[in-house]
């Protein structure tokens, strides 16, 4: 049987591991005898491609043609890339996918292709070590990766000729390696600070079941940020003569120097060094650990919020252990921070650089063999999946931290009379308004038979598979018209990334909520007013002029409130209109029932709000209990 492999496709370094004949997970030596393959790809003008340490060495000299930290660009659309990530690269953002111009401008590659080069290299080494082509493969992703980023990773695997059995969340992989190694039981936190991403997951380990209770993080936070702030300081203070606009080569070399200095300060108290930079520049460095820590403290502090949120979402006050993952957790300041956050000494028995790959290998091996009786991973989706409703508000369909695979269906109806199409806008994120969430896909359900508003029944179903990838289908129930799409993101975030979304969802929570209510009640007000106008036209004779005038007065009040910004006022007026038209509604009901016993439903405008979203998932927004 071919042997399955596990791959940790990291921002800074990538690794491949497998479970050996003696049933132990092992990382394979890959790059110049070391297990860590730098996630660097160099494209030469003649078409040659260099991967790993050799490529990284070329980075200062050939900065534009050497792609580092490509993971930050995965699943990103045009306009999606953060300014600080753009660095020195040249982007082509004319198509639906971002491309990088490399090879002296001769070639344009997508981040998926760049990642595939790294994966291909790992695959080749695994094949060399095994003496045959590897079997299935598990690739790890940050737990906090959204649908688009997961899709991109899976595509890269396929492009590299790998049989991707599963995408596995990095903290879950680490917990798997750790839990099996230590036979751990209880509630654990995995604090994963890598080169470019931060993830924190809370898991319950019980008799071989690894159940993820919650996850949080920031897809733009990691060791790279330490290097960036340090490089800025070095350039500002370490040069004999200040330069205004350092070239890409100088920047690269400075960042590389910053990384080495930071790593040295993990064990040393101070560093004194002279660093040669391109263009004849020379950097004089004199730095203590305390100075470095003061510099990176703000970056480290950004892990606090997501960690607290994850603990709260998991409803645990205390954990039995904290597992450290990612090279950046070697930093003494980070360890102190973790100790303070969790009130205990973190576990460091396993190498934070390799633990994810080891876990991936264990999972790959299990999958290849049709699962293990003694191990079960139950993972969750990191961000809620929803659909944009009338007025731009998001109706969440599957809530974050739901165990995957998961599905949910929600009923919707048409808003206008004779409406034959419905735009389904699929979004991911926690914010109340669709424009603040990540847009995953947009499609139109067509062919709804013309009916009065509110009669058509459209069902939208979301299904998330075990990789955390979404499939959406929409169905019109009266005709059975069905449309199904695999969500392939057409474009991504404006500028905010997932992390930004979460941070903002907390910062803007109140403003969102009242804005959301206001929109909803305005939509409802519109519906009532137009339903009443229709009713006056059809059954105006059922009212005396005095009754009619009283209702008109209420409608005028409602309209005035709708023009304002106080949703409570709109709501109060709606209730007042409802009360004033109750009698009218009853008379109409009687008239129509008498007229036609055919079972047609009368528009009950005196009833409470619209059948826009339904039931089950509304309830689901509450806390479980």
């Amino acid at each position: 049987m071919p042997r399955a492999i596990g791959i940790d496709l990291g921002t800074t370094n990538s690794l491949v591991a497998l479970v050996d004949e003696r049933n132990r997970p092992q990382v394979l030596p890959v790059d110049e005898g070391r297990p860590l393959l730098p996630s660097a790809v160099f494209y030469a003008p003649d078409g040659a491609v260099e991967v790993g340490a050799a490529a990284r060495r070329l980075a200062p000299e050939r900065p534009v043609d050497t792609i580092l930290s490509v993971k930050r660009f995965m699943g990103r659309g045009p306009g999606d890339i953060r300014p600080e990530d753009r660095g020195i690269y040249r982007f082509d953002e004319s198509g639906a996918v971002v491309r990088l111009e490399v090879g002296g401008g001769a070639r344009k590659v997508t981040p998926i292709e760049v990642s595939a080069e790294i994966l291909r290299r790992l695959r080749r080494h695994a094949a060399d070590a095994l003496g045959e082509a590897p079997g299935g493969c598990v690739i790890t992703v940050p737990a906090y990766f959204d649908d688009a980023q997961r899709q991109a990773t899976k595509d890269a695997g396929r492009l590299a000729g790998l049989d991707v059995l599963r995408l596995l969340n990095e903290p879950t992989a680490a917990a798997l390696a750790y839990g099996l190694d230590k036979r751990a039981q209880g509630t654990f936190a995995v604090y994963d600070l890598g080169g470019g991403t931060f993830d924190v997951s809370i898991l319950r380990l019980d008799a071989g079941v690894f159940e993820v209770l919650s996850t949080g993080g920031d897809t733009h936070l990691g060791g790279d940020d330490f290097d960036r702030v340090l490089a800025r300081k070095l350039l500002a203070e370490g040069l004999a003569q200040r330069i205004e606009d350092p070239s890409p080569g100088v920047l690269r070399a400075t960042v590389a120097a910053a990384q080495r200095i930071r790593e040295t300060l993990t064990t040393e108290e101070a560093v004194e060094a002279e660093v040669e930079l391109p263009e004849g520049l020379r950097l004089t460095v004199r730095l203590t650990r305390a100075e470095l820590e003061a510099l990176i403290q703000p970056v480290v502090d950004r892990t606090t919020g997501p960690t607290r949120d994850a603990l709260r979402d998991a409803r645990v006050a205390k954990v039995d252990g904290v597992v450290l993952v990612g090279g950046a957790t070697r930093t003494p300041l980070v360890r102190r921070h973790v100790r303070e956050l969790f009130g205990q000494e973190p576990l460091t028995d396993l190498d934070p650089d390799t633990v994810v790959a080891l876990g991936a290998a264990v999972q790959a091996d299990a999958l290849e063999r049709g699962g293990r009786e003694d191990v079960l991973l139950l993972d969750v989706i990191p961000l809620s999946l929803g659909v944009e409703m009338m007025g731009g508000v998001v109706e969440k369909i599957i809530l974050r931290n739901s165990t995957i695979p998961a599905s949910a269906t929600q009923g919707f109806t048409t808003y206008a009379d004779g409406q034959t199409g419905m735009v389904v806008h699929v979004v991911q994120g926690e914010r109340e308004l669709a424009r603040d969430c990540r847009s995953l896909a947009r499609f139109t359900l067509k062919g709804i038979p013309p009916m009065p508003a509110g009669i058509a029944r459209v069902e939208i179903s979301y299904a998330v598979d075990a990789d955390g990838i979404l499939q959406v289908s929409a169905r019109e129930l009266t005709t059975g018209i069905e449309q199904r799409i695999q969500v392939k993101p057409t474009y991504g975030l404006t500028e905010d990334e997932v992390e930004q979304m979460l941070v903002e969802s907390i910062e803007h929570a109140e403003e969102d909520v009242s804005e959301r209510f206001l929109r909803e009640w305005r939509v409802e007000g519109d519906r009532i007013v137009s339903a009443l106008e229709t009713a006056f036209g059809m059954d105006g004779e059922l009212l005396t002029p005095a009754e009619r005038a009283r209702i008109e007065e209420k409608i005028a009040g409602l309209r005035e409130a709708m023009a304002g910004s106080d949703f409570l006022a709109v709501k109060a007026w709606i209730e007042s209109v409802d009360a004033a038209t109750k009698e009218f509604a009853e008379r109409r009901m009687n008239k129509h029932i008498a007229k036609a016993m055919s079972g047609h439903r009368v528009v009950e405008f005196a009833d409470q709000p619209p059948a826009t979203g339904s039931k089950d998932s509304d309830l689901e927004s509450g806390e479980g209990g």
């Binding site: 299935g136 059995l165 599963r166 019980d206 079941v209 999972q363 299990a366 999958l367 290849e368 063999r369 049709g370 699962g371 009786e373 079960l376 991973l377 139950l378 739901s402 165990t403 995957i404 695979p405 998961a406 599905s407 949910a408 009923g411 299904a463 598979d465 075990a466 907390i506 910062e507 929570a509 109140e510 909520v513 409570l568 209730e575 009833d607 409470q608 709000p609 619209p610 059948a611 826009t612 979203g613 339904s614 039931k615 089950d616 509304d618 309830l619 689901e620 927004s621 509450g622 806390e623 479980g624 209990g625």
Partner: protein, 205 residues
């Protein structure tokens, strides 16, 4: 009556696996969230029992067990595991469980409208909102905590009331509206708790 898709054996009842050839089977039309977990269709559940069954079933149904199986088995495992996770999510939360029971009884009360007419509750809602607004305006963290705590007490009381309703053997004819009204109120308290927490968090920053 069903036939196994693989060995064509006749099955009396829908089961996850064919008793004869052990191949995974599609979810039957008659299976609901309770039967999927092998539990009686009732409001009262033992949380530990739900968890235990969920884990046992997950072990055999999870797509991890079928990663190398043929396409049809992979699809069926995904379908079963998805339904199992959905069932677990519904049954462990009393609100979802109650709403689901109402739906199974043929009264999808929430289908008729997003909010539920509850005029008596309106005044109380306004009081909560006002208390919240005052606490926020004063930047009064402890008051927000107290509001959330009070809302949690109301939720606990509602849960007990809903449980009592379901104890009545005629609940599906007599008490559907009482239950639905309480679920609607529970949703309101859930929102209060979430809002109070967010407001509290924004005070800290």
């Amino acid at each position: 009556m069903l036939h196994c898709w693989s060995c064509k054996t006749l099955e009396e009842e829908p089961t996850p696996f064919c008793p004869s050839c052990r191949k995974i089977q599609p979810v039957g039309r008659t299976e609901d969230y309770f039967s999927l977990l092998g539990l009686p269709r009732q409001f009262a559940v033992d949380r530990a029992e739900v968890e235990k069954r969920f884990r046992e079933l997950s072990r055999s149904l999870h797509p991890d067990r079928f990663a190398k199986a043929e396409a049809r088995e992979r699809r069926l495992s995904l379908e079963r595991a998805t339904r199992l996770n959905d069932a677990f999510r519904y049954l462990k939360d009393w609100r979802l469980r109650a709403a689901y029971l109402l739906k199974l009884a043929g009264t999808d009360v929430f289908a008729e409208g997003k909010t539920f007419a509850d005029p008596e509750f309106l005044e109380e809602q306004l009081e909560w909102r006002e208390a919240m607004a005052v606490a926020q305006a004063d930047g009064d963290g402890p008051a927000l905590v107290a509001i959330a705590e009070r809302a949690r007490e109301r939720l606990a009381a509602l849960e007990a009331e809903v449980a009592a309703c379901f104890e009545d053997e005629h609940w599906f004819s007599d008490l559907v509206l009482d239950i639905a009204r309480r679920l609607s109120r529970a949703r309101y308290y859930d929102n209060i708790i979430a809002d109070a927490r967010r407001a509290g968090a924004s005070l800290q920053t």
